[in-house]
Symmetry: C2
């Protein structure tokens, strides 16, 4: 259990307000020790200048299925901006109808994660963007073919020049990734009802949602799922207290072990960020749990050793729904027309 | 060759203007006897009231991959609003990585076609919308499963109520199709350079493009490719004069014969609408021709018996590029969140 002392200001407020407000102030102060609201604007990026030109180029690349070998999959295929930033599948389907190994994480607020992918193998969104493009079971492309595709279309070349001014040869795979990062950093979801509560609106949450928030902190969920993203910051073994069944934690996927090759990192994953979790079923890296209530129950047993009551699960689930923020408005970009130099789609 | 007499007004203009204008006026008058500009606003629909609510619902449905059994394909997958309303593939790839039988036609300005599909088997866009959803090689879904999916999400139910006010049970497969039609009818591309020329701007076309327009009419292309959509109005045998090779006209696809079962309709297809043709490679129902110049040459031989010169082909191709209009701005819709009642994606 974690609870901070009332601040002087809050204490004064308690004296002046009805009892319900005293509870709200304490709950808010407690929550503020764990969580931060999603900012209203995209954060600054490390080593990337998110100009309007770069963001616009990134949007084009994000939506362009010609970045895949087959011409079928774009970033948006698995990180759909209309569906909570995910594809809503257990695991994504890619080139040749192959299944990927893990559930597609949301692109929304991903910029706030300490690293990308379930095992944190990419330090930032730019590095992440290079992965699925090349993965044989996903977009199955190569950096050279991506660059050749981009160079074949004058409108893309112009867009790269505008996005990376002063560079002699701006059409590179690295710049492709930087532009996508600049766009993805704009995909943030501020003003969730929880954030409204955190910033002072007592009425933003219902009584049940407040009980859920309280339980989320008291039962220990917030130990791993904290910060602006309610997770995404550190790595923990899945099954800290009790390993879940193989359908949820397949033995073949040893998580961060593949990154660090350290025994301590077997079945270790980055704590999943929980912003917009009500939109991103199914859950866990295996994507085998479809109901949020069930996911909460699994977490209670596996990570906390807590056999949460049905009422607690309902409360926490209700609270988690308040993490759904304002979905960014995204205009579908107009993509450059292919030319006779553009590599043909290849579905083999 | 087709050429109309100068109107009185145009004749006066000839007297007052430089010789170049006299040619332009005659060319414009000739063109006006074949073609109409794309209107600035969506046309009225037969049996469908395109309210804002209905259009917005249609946009959601158009972009929702959960309308497919696998959860992967939406209407936009094959009729990409960022890519000229097509997928840029020879033939579309659908459920289980199966290939469809024909090249995906553009959704842009499709509302102006007399009927939908290459063989015109759907009388309107609403009827068309029901096809790919159910086709085994495309979205592989059923009307019942679509309706169950929609009914499982309260936000969809509300959207249908708003789009079809007064109906007791508005969530139906018919209304699904009507909403998509209402949205698709907004996907029109006015103000192409050709339309600007047609409406009086002599400078909207270059000299080469004007020669191409002239040739397009004189050589007979405009006999089939006329009207607002430069085609899409009538049916003609592919190979009227000379059958193209089997790679372009596969023997197994007998076109409109499958609709009418009339011998006269063997290898008959609806004349392809040519608006935005520069954006919609590859060409023909087989999608086997990637270069617009090559498509023009094939048409010359097969439909006109004309062995067009390289210069004519270049001119006509240049002219066809002027049929690219203003691409509609489309905001990617936010889609309703699934519930525990939503059918699970099924990729089998």
């Amino acid at each position: 259990m974690h609870r901070t002392a009332l601040t002087a200001t809050a204490a004064v407020a308690v004296l002046l307000a009805a009892p319900a407000f005293a509870d709200d102030a304490a709950l808010r102060a407690d929550a503020a020790s764990y969580f931060e609201p999603v900012p209203m604007n995209a954060p600054a990026l490390n080593g990337n200048v998110a100009t309007r030109s770069r963001i616009d180029l990134g949007a084009m690349l994000f939506f362009d299925p010609r970045m895949s070998r087959s011409g079928i999959f774009s970033c948006n295929s698995c990180h759909n901006v209309g569906m909570g930033g995910v594809d809503g599948l257990e695991v994504s389907i890619g080139h040749g109808w192959q299944k990927g190994p893990r559930n597609s994480p949301t692109v929304f607020n991903a910029v706030f994660n300490i690293a990308q992918f379930w095992d944190g193998r990419a330090p930032d969104l730019a590095e992440q963007a290079k992965g699925p493009v090349q993965a044989g079971v996903e977009m199955n492309n190569t950096p050279d073919r991506v660059v050749a595709t981009l160079n074949s279309m004058p409108d893309y070349v112009e867009a790269f020049k505008a996005a990376f001014p002063g560079e002699v040869d701006p059409v590179t795979f690295d710049n492709f990734a930087l532009a996508i990062e600049a766009f993805e950093a704009t995909l943030i979801t501020p003003n969730a009802r929880f954030d409204q509560f955190l910033q002072g609106d007592d009425n933003a949450l219902t009584a049940q949602e407040k009980r859920g928030l309280q339980a989320f902190m008291e039962e220990g969920c917030a130990s791993c799922h904290a910060g602006v993203n309610f997770g995404g910051q550190e790595y923990y073994p899945f099954g800290l207290i009790e390993k879940p069944g193989a359908e949820i934690l397949p033995a073949g996927d040893r998580g961060r072990f593949a990154v660090t090759e350290t025994v301590d990192d077997e079945y270790v994953f980055r704590a999943a960020p929980l912003r917009n979790i009500a939109l991103t079923a199914p859950y866990f890296h295996s994507g085998n749990v479809w109901k949020l209530e069930d996911a909460v129950a699994v977490m209670g047993v596996s990570q906390l050793g807590a056999d949460l009551s049905d009422a607690q699960i309902a409360d926490i689930t209700a609270f988690l729904h308040t993490l759904t923020g304002e979905i960014p408005e995204v205009e579908h970009p107009v993509l450059p027309a292919r030319t006779s130099a553009t590599p043909l789609p290849d579905d083999m």
